[in-house]
């Protein structure tokens, strides 16, 4: 019983991490039609900012709060300078964002070297439920993920900003004619997606430690999750992330990890092939 519970908690917490990483990716892919190869590097940057704060004696939580704003700001600048030119051509966008990601990743690698740098958990220890112990920080990640998900959903479905974002997504020309500044909306959306990645990086760095290839690890999983969930809505990628995250965490418990690793991708690609619109089709929130 206890081990089942621990397994369930592990699966849940890994699922939450994937959801957190995919949120930004999904928002950018759905709202802007860009598969952002630099998203993994935004995650890396968030982690790096947190590490910088820690190594300079600033409280870790302060670094975690600052990370999304710094990465989001960078995302806004990059969108204005570079990403904006790629909207028409999805493949060129992939290559361009890949180049961006390469620059960021190698810069960070140059700064930290080939090391694995650890950052302690701001909330250490474990939560005891009867005889079972679960990591307090992982629990916090789950809670924050739920909060962020709810926040994003409300932002997109209940606020006038969300309405303008969705209008721009559905019909840019009409949105522009209605007086919505679509370039600004695109810029803000991209910055928001980048900020979410930064937050994800900041939160997961105590779990995975900081290394230059941290982002790549999640990037392909993130893409697969977005495709499985379905591009074009907010809920789709989140659902996809939940499925992929849960599968990748759950399968190694029942089979050899190598097989499980590959099987998740194979299953996902087969699923997408036969259901290109994803789990949840359609536009909207």
């Amino acid at each position: 019983m206890a081990s089942t519970f621990v397994a369930a908690f592990e699966i849940l917490s890994f699922g939450a991490i994937i959801v957190l990483v995919v949120l930004g990716l999904g928002i950018i892919a759905s709202m802007m039609g860009i598969f952002n190869f630099a998203q993994g590097e935004f995650v890396l940057l968030g982690a790096y900012v947190t590490y910088l704060a820690y190594s300079h004696g600033i409280p870790i939580w302060a670094g975690m709060v600052a990370a999304p704003f710094i990465v989001g700001g960078l995302g806004f600048v990059l969108e204005a300078l570079i990403i904006r030119r790629f909207y028409a051509a999805p493949i060129v966008a992939m290559l361009g964002t890949y180049a961006l990601g390469l620059i960021v990743r190698e810069s960070v690698r140059g700064l930290i070297g080939g090391f694995y740098l650890t950052v302690p958990e701001p909330i250490g220890g474990s939560i005891d439920i009867g005889t079972m112990h679960i990591s307090a920080w992982r629990f916090t990640i789950i809670v924050i993920t739920l909060l962020v998900m709810a926040g994003c959903y409300l932002l997109l479905s209940r606020t006038s900003f969300g309405l303008r974002v969705r209008a721009t997504l559905e019909n840019p020309a009409l949105a522009r004619a209605s007086g919505i500044s679509t370039p600004l909306i695109y810029g803000t959306t991209f910055a928001f997606g980048a900020a979410l990645a930064g937050l994800a990086g900041a939160l997961i760095v105590p779990v995975f430690s900081l290394f230059a290839d941290l982002g790549i690890r999640f990037l392909i999983q993130g893409f697969v999750a977005v495709m499985v969930g379905g591009v074009g809505s907010f809920i789709g990628p989140v659902a996809g992330a939940g499925v992929i995250g849960t599968l990748s965490a759950a399968l190694p418990w029942v089979m050899a990890p190598v097989v499980a690793d590959v099987l998740v991708f194979v299953l996902a690609i087969v699923f997408i092939k036969f259901r290109p619109q994803g789990l949840i089709a359609g536009k909207g929130v």
Binding site: S30, M31, M32, G33, F35, I82, R84, R85, F86, Y87, A88, A89, P90, I91, V92, M94, L95, G96, Y98, A99, L100, G101, L102, I103, E106, S107, R109, G110, L169, N171, P172, A173, R176, T182, Y186, I216, I220, F223, V224, M227, G232, P257, V258, D261, V262, F265, V266, A268, I269, I272, K273, P276
Partner: protein, 365 residues
């Protein structure tokens, strides 16, 4: 996501590539010169070939070994160029075919002690063909045409999954790969790295290059160009667009398999990166740099990137990847047709199709 307005702007911003074409036309403006066949492409190709032929005579031995590696990588780049530059299929997982052929021949050499050149090279090529047929058939064929994004991400995921498999599978050597593969043998003669291997690889590259050149200049190549420019229209003309794509994808995979088996025997070891995302993206860089849609562009791109990275790796190992990223970004933004577009005009890049010299002569008077 119909960002239509942006679409227009982006098209306009890609104009540098087009304006370059004007330059090319300007140079060939006098009609006589054009008729006299003053073309840049054969000159570039000839120059590259002659340079490649005399290179081992002037290089030191260790540099010849490096040059051989570049030749093999150029062959690999050719395979990606065929798929992306000519058919417009973004294969982000080209290393899957390269690496699985490499692993295949490495296993043959290790477990079956087969190193005969007449067995390993065809085997590697067949492995490339088989994996690309499988993956390409699955991703490209079917009732509904697959989206470009799906194919790009599908190949990427395939390559990544293969990488993970190779890392985790003890039989394939795990993280370390398969070390110390014996040399390829021709009868009792071992083809070891050095000038012999260099000229051998160069010979294969030239043959494959000529085959590709014939392919893309044939009527089939014309259909491919149509496919790349406007897939829907080609489908309305009655071509089976998905089949065409699958054929080119398999052809690319075959070449990649040949390159992979040459590479495995040349380096003497295979390791998981060879099937993975690292090499897959590397080949994309070669082709984008050199110029996709021209065969020689792929070769030049591989030579330049590998050459510069070899040259810089002593002193500037850390900043080279950053520099590479910046250069790539600049190329994508300002010179989408690659470095070759500095000398090659748009008309010549597109070229003519399926017209033999004889027909031209008949049509001229």
């Amino acid at each position: 996501m119909g960002a239509a307005k942006q679409a227009l702007r982006a098209t306009a911003s890609q104009a540098p590539g087009v304006s370059m074409a004007d330059n090319g036309l300007d140079r060939a403006l006098p009609a006589q010169q054009a008729a006299a066949g003053r073309k840049v492409l054969p000159i570039v190709e000839g120059a590259v070939l002659i340079t490649a032929l005399i290179l081992p005579l002037v290089l030191q031995d260790y540099l010849t070994v490096f040059a051989t590696r570049v030749i093999i990588l150029a062959l690999f780049a050719l395979s990606f160029d065929l798929v992306w530059g000519y058919a417009g299929i973004m294969s982000f997982g080209q290393a899957l075919f390269f690496g699985s052929a490499g692993y295949g021949v490495a296993l043959m050499a290790r477990d079956l002690k087969i190193t005969s050149i007449f067995l390993v090279l065809p085997a590697g090529t067949l492995i490339g063909l088989a994996t690309s047929l499988l993956l390409g058939g699955f991703l490209l064929l079917g009732r509904h045409p697959s989206s470009v994004i799906f194919v790009a991400l599908g190949t990427l995921t395939g390559s990544y999954a293969a990488d993970r498999l190779a890392r985790g599978w003890y039989y394939l050597g795990g993280q370390n790969g398969i070390p110390s593969i014996p040399s390829m043998s021709l009868g009792s003669y071992d083809i070891t790295e050095g000038p012999v291997y260099y000229y051998f690889a160069l010979g294969i590259l030239v043959v494959v290059y000529l085959l590709c050149r014939f392919l893309v200049r044939s009527q089939f190549g014309l259909a491919l160009a149509g496919l790349r420019e406007n897939e829907q229209r080609i489908a309305f003309f009655g071509y089976k667009a998905q089949h065409l794509k699958a054929i080119v994808f398999a052809a690319g995979g075959t070449i990649a398999g040949l390159a992979g088996s040459l590479y495995a025997f040349h380096e003497g070891f295979v390791w998981p990166n060879m099937v993975g995302v690292v090499i897959s993206t590397q080949v994309v860089l070669y082709v984008l740099f050199g110029g996709s849609g021209t065969l020689i562009g792929a070769v030049i791109g591989a030579v330049i990137i590998e050459g510069v990275s070899f040259w810089l790796s002593d002193n500037y190992r850390d900043i080279w990847p950053i520099l590479l990223g910046v250069l790539l970004l600049l190329v994508i933004l300002f010179r989408p047709l690659g470095l070759i577009s500095f000398v090659l005009g748009e008309r010549e890049r597109v070229g003519s199709f399926g017209v033999t010299r004889k027909e031209k002569r008949n049509a001229a008077p």
